[in-house]
């Protein structure tokens, strides 16, 4: 790994002062589970790392009106352990518990994951599926504006994610087909029925960036949240990722399978609740 300078501000005001004087090549360090590995491989070589680990206000989970607010530096494992999350949006518990492996989940954070916006990451599907809001030190982004492309987000240079606000839906479920080695999503689908009844189907892993499957959402609006609402519908393979892990055609097929699987989980959760 190439040498770099390191600083660890204690609050957001100090962080902003450091960012104002840092060069263009400074990077923010969250849990480091992607960034450190990338730097070890020489794929990233920032001149300065600014650690977010000392900023307490970035960590924690709270309930705010009809929403869950999760601090950017909250590790995936804390989200798995949270009774507030399990009680209100259990699909987030499931999703967080399937990221990487237990040791990676203890350090990796939700903010780090969405800032990196890996096309196969899980959190983007939850944010887009639940119509979440990303709060930064200077504004709020809706999930649909935030994820702009492969490893690209709407964040301006030096803009810091503070938290993610998930509106509590009527119900939601996540189903993913994990790569057996990395546990990243070959395809992952988050299906939600919003508080106003609107269906949302968000797909990660399949394309360059998370996207909604509008045709499936229309079917659910017309026929209800049932796997057979999608009968005869398949996703085209145009524009999907095609690599050593899976062909575009296979990913297109998996989108249909994972969407139906998420719908089956929704129905099972309803039966369990009755």
């Amino acid at each position: 790994m190439r040498p770099f300078t390191y600083s660890r501000p204690g609050d957001i005001a100090e962080l902003r002062r450091l960012l104002a004087t840092a060069g263009d090549d400074a990077r923010l360090l969250a849990g480091g589970q992607t960034l450190i590995a990338t730097m070890k491989q020489g794929l990233a070589a920032p001149e300065a790392l600014i650690s977010l680990a000392g900023i307490d206000e970035l960590t924690g989970i709270r309930v705010e009106q009809e929403a869950l607010v999760i601090g950017a530096m909250t590790p995936h494992a804390d989200i798995v352990r949270s009774e507030e999350v399990r009680g209100r949006i259990p699909a987030l518990t499931t999703l967080a518990n399937e990221i990487g492996d237990p040791a990676v989940r203890e350090k990796g954070t939700i903010g780090g994951s969405i800032a990196n916006n890996d096309p196969a990451a899980d959190w983007p599907a939850a944010l887009l599926g639940l119509d979440a809001v990303v709060t930064t030190d200077r504004r709020e982004w809706s999930a649909s504006d935030f994820f702009t492309g492969m490893f690209e987000t709407a964040l301006a240079p030096g803009e810091v994610i503070v938290s993610v606000r998930f509106p509590v839906p009527r119900r939601g479920a996540y189903a993913k087909f994990p790569n057996p080695a990395s546990r990243y999503a070959v395809v992952g689908v988050f299906v939600a029925e919003g508080a106003d009844g609107t269906p949302r189907v968000a797909v990660t892993g399949a394309g360059p960036v998370v996207f909604r499957w509008a045709e499936a959402e229309a079917r659910l609006a017309d026929h209800g949240f049932r796997p057979d609402a999608l009968d005869g519908l398949s996703h085209p393979e145009n524009g999907l990722n095609d690599d050593i892990h899976a062909s575009a055609g296979y990913r297109a097929h998996l989108i249909g399978v994972m969407t139906r699987r998420a719908l089956t989980r929704l129905a099972a959760a309803d039966e369990a609740a009755e």
């Binding site: 770099f4 001149e47 680990a53 492996d101 237990p102 350090k107």
Partner: protein, 175 residues
């Protein structure tokens, strides 16, 4: 680039407060093995996949090859050497951690290279699930620890037995 200098950090390693100077790009696993001489923490893949470098960070398992030493400032790190603190070292069987004893009794190893990381990960599994632990959960949560010798059967048995031995009832002797 500004001049890169070592940074002074204070942390707890195996219950002992240490004050050290480390370069920002020093990995936690390099710091433990090369600066502190705690070579029980192993480097297998060096890409955060195999889990041989797993240590406990404030009681929770993390991969020391994918973490900077400077980030551990203020943290309490436990390595395999810290599980059985005895002046006689690992030869003192009476001091073994229940999970170490379980790996010994169930022969949850062959070459032993993955074992320190396995035991740290296993302690994390036991802490997360306690009495409710079952075989399926053990197998799922050993995802981040690779063993290329055993086929895992004895490791899974050891984790289940070690987790039972770590419950409060077993620790009191009435379990």
């Amino acid at each position: 680039m500004g001049e890169v200098n070592p940074i002074e950090i204070e942390l707890t390693v195996n219950g002992e407060t240490r004050r050290c100077r480390v370069m920002p790009h020093r990995l936690l696993v390099e710091f433990l093995r090369e600066d502190l001489g705690l070579t029980g923490t192993h480097v297998g893949c060096d890409t955060a996949q195999c889990g041989a470098c797993t240590v406990l960070w404030n009681g929770r398992p993390v991969k020391a090859c994918n973490t900077l030493a400077v980030e551990a400032a203020g943290a309490a790190i436990t390595t395999i050497e810290g599980l059985a603190p005895s002046p006689k070292g690992i030869a003192d069987e009476a001091a073994w951690h229940p999970m170490q004893r379980a790996f010994h009794e169930h022969h949850g190893l062959q070459c032993g290279f993955c074992t320190p990381g396995m035991i740290m990960a296993a302690i994390g599994i036991a802490e997360r699930h306690g009495d409710a632990l079952d075989e399926e959960t053990v197998r799922a949560e050993l995802e981040g620890n690779l063993c290329r010798c055993t086929g895992y059967q004895n490791i899974v048995d050891a984790v289940l037995a070690g987790a039972r031995a770590m419950t409060p009832a077993a620790q009191r002797g009435d379990g």
